[in-house]
Structures are given as C-alpha cells and as structure tokens.
Symmetry: C2
Subunit: 403 residues, 2 copies
C-alpha cells in the first residue's frame, strides 16, 4: 500500500474537484463552496449524524444515498443550514439542482453537505453563483485537491487529507479522502465532514458495508467533547475508472477494506489531533471485556470525563480518575482484576496502585501521544477509542464567542 | 416550616456530634474526623454511589444500612479509603469498631464514610486516636454542628448545612443535614457526602422510601462534570426523640416528606453553587416529554455538554448548543415542535430561531442564576436538572494538580 499525500480527493482516476470563495465566510481569502465530481457514473454510500436535530442537507442526502448512486458532492462551509425549517430544505434542494445542471447529471445523484453557523438561511444568490464557478474551475491536479480540502474547513487549523494506492488484479486502485472536524463553528458546534473517492468498481451495497466497517473503527471511535453535531456526514463515491471490479467474493476484498480503513483512521486521527485546544493525542485501549460493546462504553466513559481530560492536559498520570470513570460506564466490573498501564507502565494492578518508576512515567506524560491501557480481566473482548485533552484553550475558544 | 440555619445536623433532639483534627489532612487548622451520634436507638437508611469501583466504607456501610438501624456515623476526610484492597476494608471495620466502643453501642449500628485522596491506606493510629477525641468532645451546640459540617469538607469553599422545623401532632419535628461536594480531591475526584438527622420516629422501610424520593429530585438531579465518585454516600438517622411517630398512613406524611425534600434540595443546590470553578447556577427544565425519564435524559445531556457549559461561562445564550445537545440524548424528538426559553425569553420556536430582545437576554445572562426551559411538545412529562458552568478555573483546579 502506497501512501499519497498530494491530491487526495482527486488522486483516484476520473474524479475532479473545484472550490471557490462565494461570500459565506467572512474571510475573503478562504474558500467556502466546493464540488467533487466523478466523470463516470458512480456507486455511492454515506453515513450521517444520529442527532435527532439534523440539518436540511442531512435530511436530503439520506434519501440520495439510499439509492446507491452518487456522482457528485456539493458542499459549503460557513453555514450549516441547520434549524432553518422548510426554507432551509428548499435551499438544499436548490443546491443539488444547481450542481446537477452545471454538471449535466441527475439531481438524484448529487449529495449535499453544509457546515458552519446554524439557524441562518443560506445566501442563495452568492451560493448558486459559487456553485457555477466551482464546477467551471474543476480539475484533478494537486492544487484542486488541496483547494477542496481547504474549502471544507471551518476553524480547523490545517487541512486533513490523504490517499492510498493498492495493487489489485495487477492494476492501481486508489482511495482518497478529505475531512474536517473539531473546529468551533460560531455560534454553535463542530461538525465532522468526510468525503472519500475511489476508482474501483463496486456494488453500492458492498460499498456501504465496507464504509460502515471502516467508520466503525475510526470516526465512531473518536471523541473530542462528546457533543454530537447536527450535520455529520461521511460519504464515498466509487466510479470504476481503475478498471478493477470488486465483489463480495473477490480475493482482495480484504486488501481494499484495509486501504479504506487506513484512510478513514488517518483522517479520524487527524480530527482528534486538530481538536479544539488539544495538546494531546490519547489512545485508550480497553481489553479483557465481556463484549466489544462493553469495552467501547468504558473507553468512551474514560475519554469523555472532564476530570481525565484535564489531568491529561496537566500531564498527570492520574489513575484514580481513569479507573473511576471506567467504574461508572454502566458495565459490571471486578475491581480486584483490573490493571492499568499508562504509556506502557503498570501503575495500578489488581485493584490497587502499584509501585512504578514515577520519574519515567512523569517524563513520558510530556509527549504529545499518550497511551492508556485498561485490562479488565473478565473475558477476551477489547476496543480502542481516541481522544484529546481538555485545555484552557478549549474553554477560551468556546466561552469567549458571543452570539 | 421554619428554616434553621444554625446547628443543622444536631438541631434535631437527641443528636450529638464531635469533630477534631487527627492528622490526615495536611492543613493543621482543619478538621478531618467526626462522629454523629444519636442518644437513642435510631432507624437508618442510606444510598450509595452506583460506581462499580467503590470504596471500602461504601462496601461496609451498604451492609449496615440493609439492617435499618443506624445510631452513629463515623467519618474522615482527606483520605477516601478507595482502591485500598483488603487492608482498606479491615481499616473501615476498625473505624466502626472503634466508634462503637467509644459510644458503647453495637458496631452493627455504625455507618462509616470517607472522602479524600484514593489509593492510600488510612493512617489508623492517628485516626483511632481522632475517633476517641471526637466522641469525647461531642455536644449539640451550634459550634458542634458547624464543626461537623466543616469536618466533612475537602476542597469545598464553604460549609453546607441546613435544618427545618415542622409541626406534626402539635409537636416540633426537626430535620437537619450537612453535605460536601464538588471539591477536587487530590489526586482524584470529588465525592458527595450527605448526612441527615431527624427526631421523628419512623419505620426504617418508610424512612428509606422517603429518602429515595427526596434524593431522586435533588442529589440525583445535579451534575457538575458527569464524573461519578467511588465514595458517594447519603445517610439519614431517625431517633424518635421528638415524641412524634410517622407511619405510611399518617395524615402528615407528606408534610414530613416536604421537609426532607426541602433539606435535600437545599443541600444539593449548595453543592452545585460551590462546584469547581462554578460561576453560574443553572436550572434546566425539560417539559412536554413522553416520560419523566426522557425529560431527565435530555436535561442531563444538556447539563453535561462541555459546549453548553462553556457558553454559559461566557454568558452567551447559545441556543444551538442547547438544542443539539438535546438531540443526541437518545430520545426521539420532533424538531418542528421544539421551543426554547432562556431566562424566560423565547429564543427558539417550532424548530427555528425566533426574533427576541437580545439586549435584555444578554443582560440577563450576567446574573448568577440561569434558567433554561426546553419544551418538546410531545406529551405531558417533565423533569429538572441543576448544573454549573465550565470555567478556566475548573481546568486550572483539575489540570494543575500533580500526583
């Protein structure tokens, strides 16, 4: 598997993208509208926020994704088109229609995504003009890929993109992706968007399964602050331009899955590393649980505890907060069987603190990457969650904004 | 109902308390061991943390409370006796035994509670000497009540106590209480302790029911940071010294319940107001839910969102964060029916932001008390949760400690 750091979303064959500034964001040198387009008909799959309050583009795109054909994604940043009622929905439809007209494809094949401020109607005149310009400017160079990666950013501090190239049937298959994440979006919340492209040919039902698997162990295993957005969207298009066809019986299905997993995990981790105010990248492994679900619940309980997160910010190996957060996850535990390692140093054994080299541990806490491993000693299931710390900067970002 | 602000825990007849410094805490002018004692046999009831990792005194006291007779509570602060294994449990038994000997009662009637650092063994020599001194110094003056309220504090910034006096059968019945809360306990977590006394006579099964009811709408409806302690304990003793007997058929049972509710709610609110770094006291009412449980889940989801808490800290009426936190509570919602009031001003109506006097709203956000009311419009059930904001001070308190 070859990792490609340039072009990303247009690295697979037969994909073009275009991004321009249309006037939604206030900073004029930023980009705020973009289109990703497949030159060939493509299978599509997508996953969305489970928040009961979801934005108009989520409502619309759910229906598009259900049909399994997605040939273009049109998106804007700076305005989430959430809590905007019927008018908001009409505007989403208009975005899809406008992109479809420019691209000369059916509007049923156009997915829509928005991120940014919520509760405000989109400036449709500017946006429609932006969609026209974005489609007119499409291309498949590195610059095009970079522009698209930047256009989906809100307060992300850097673009997040990656691609990989695999050999299947002796041909090159490429998977590319961009994502944006945990930037505060005035006046509201962070939204996670992720768009993926691949030039393999694959039935949409199988594509959907592959996407779910990848997301399960990547985007569904990260948490910044436990607050779920109204607009989260992950979508993939597969256009077959590589000349390789994938089926559920194909010997290299696992290879393709691994490539997709790699891209999804890389992008999910990039979101955590660029989390609001984050100074630490924390991996939490829970092993020895009675089920994977139990392990995940405990890992999330630890990851979402403000006391654990502030201790990590303070570079303190505070085992008491970690163990007690595990204790209230709603999973039955046997305290006397629990071991805890922080940065591979055993600090808590069989339910009690154990002597260890606190000097070495203390120095290890200063690195950006922190590894927590909790052994429950109950059975053989495990899971992993990634998170960041809770810093003064997080409070500053989120308290100092005024509506 | 008469509110009594002096004496509190020894305001009911027939109760004595004694508190001294024995050397567990490092500050010498503080108190760290105390005993609350009934001069007469008493019914007892208690509720404990549901954390799977629970301290030795919780394990021990659960068994005591099960029998329904509690004549004394012995407690220490500065050390939680949690994650201390078999030796920790032996030490708890020794605390009960020592208090029982001093008080010449059965050790089966002695409840034990501890709060403070976790993972360290108690200094038993000092503690036993402390228990001797505390019992020898017992009395029922205001000073005794105040000393006991201070002895349970850890990093609380002020003592939290109250008592009420009711007329039942033309006689005085008094209910008193003390609590401690959301102070950071190096190196670990906040513990909630609450001790209550009353001079009514009441069967312990009924007392247990009354306590559960009161706690359900007070201590079970507050949250500081969603991190549950290993040591939470709420206990009540009822000794009959008022000469009034309560039964489940008594005409004034509701009056007694109201008195107990008042004390529990006052103390629970006092914990939130003294929360780590708290600058706001926030009431969240969720109405129009399909069940009380649905309403409580949504209120808790809002109360525990770091994005909502930081907005409150910034005095920003950020409806988007509130509504989206309601959306991921795991309860089915109809966005188009939702109304949101902040400080009695309608800011979000039928799923969309609505024009309101932002100047008035903005000024109202500067007061300490904030009122959030979310109307779901689904059915007739409601619930209320109280919380505080998330401030820089919270991060400072919890990040700057080093193990």
């Amino acid at each position: 598997m070859e990792v490609i750091t340039a072009g990303s979303i247009v690295a697979p064959k037969g994909f073009l993208s275009g991004a321009v500034y249309c006037g939604i964001k206030t900073m004029k040198d930023s980009l705020d509208v973009g289109v990703i387009y497949s030159e060939y008909p493509a299978a599509g799959a997508a996953l969305f926020t489970t928040n009961q309050i979801y934005a108009a583009p989520v409502k619309y795109s759910r229906n598009v994704a259900r049909k399994g054909k997605v040939r273009a994604i049109v998106m804007n940043s700076g305005n989430a088109n959430a809590c905007t009622g019927e008018q908001g929905y009409k505007n989403t439809v208009e975005m899809a229609r406008s992109a479809a007209r420019c691209l000369k494809i059916s509007e049923d094949e156009v997915l829509v995504a928005s991120t940014g401020i919520i509760g405000r109607q989109l400036p449709m005149d500017k946006l429609i003009e932006g969609i026209h310009k974005a489609t007119a400017s499409m291309g498949n160079t590195c610059e095009h890929g970079n522009a698209m990666a930047r256009a989906i950013m809100t307060t992300d501090t850097r673009q997040k993109d990656i691609a990989v190239r695999l050999k299947i049937n002796n041909k090159d298959v490429t998977i590319g992706g961009i994502t944006k994440g945990a930037g505060m979006i005035a006046p509201n919340m962070a939204t996670m968007l992720c768009f993926l492209t691949t030039d393999i040919s694959i039935p949409y039902i199988l594509l959907n399964e592959c996407l779910k698997k990848s997301v399960e162990s990547s985007f569904n295993r990260i948490t910044i602050d436990g607050h779920m957005s109204t607009n989260d969207t992950i979508a993939i298009m597969a256009n077959g331009a590589s000349g390789v066809s994938m089926t559920s019986q194909h010997a290299d299905l696992e290879k393709f899955q691994e490539g997709l997993d790699f891209v999804a995990k890389y992008l999910a981790h990039a979101i955590v590393k660029d989390g609001e105010g984050a100074t630490k990248f924390v991996q939490i492994d829970v092993v020895g649980a009675r089920s994977r679900n139990d392990a995940a619940r405990i890992a999330r309980s630890i990851a979402d505890s403000p006391l654990v997160k502030t201790a990590l910010n303070g570079e303190d190996p505070n085992w008491g907060r970690i163990v007690s957060a595990a204790g209230y996850a709603g999973v039955g535990l046997d305290e006397s069987k629990i071991n805890l390692y922080i940065n591979n140093i055993l600090i808590f054994a069989k339910g009690m603190p154990t002597p260890c080299d606190l000097g070495v541990l203390s120095v290890s806490m200063k690195s950006r990457d922190i590894h927590i491993r909790l052994e429950l000693g109950l059975s053989a299931y495990s899971d992993t969650v990634w998170t960041c710390d809770l810093s003064h900067e997080y409070v500053t970002i989120n308290a100092e904004y005024h509506t």
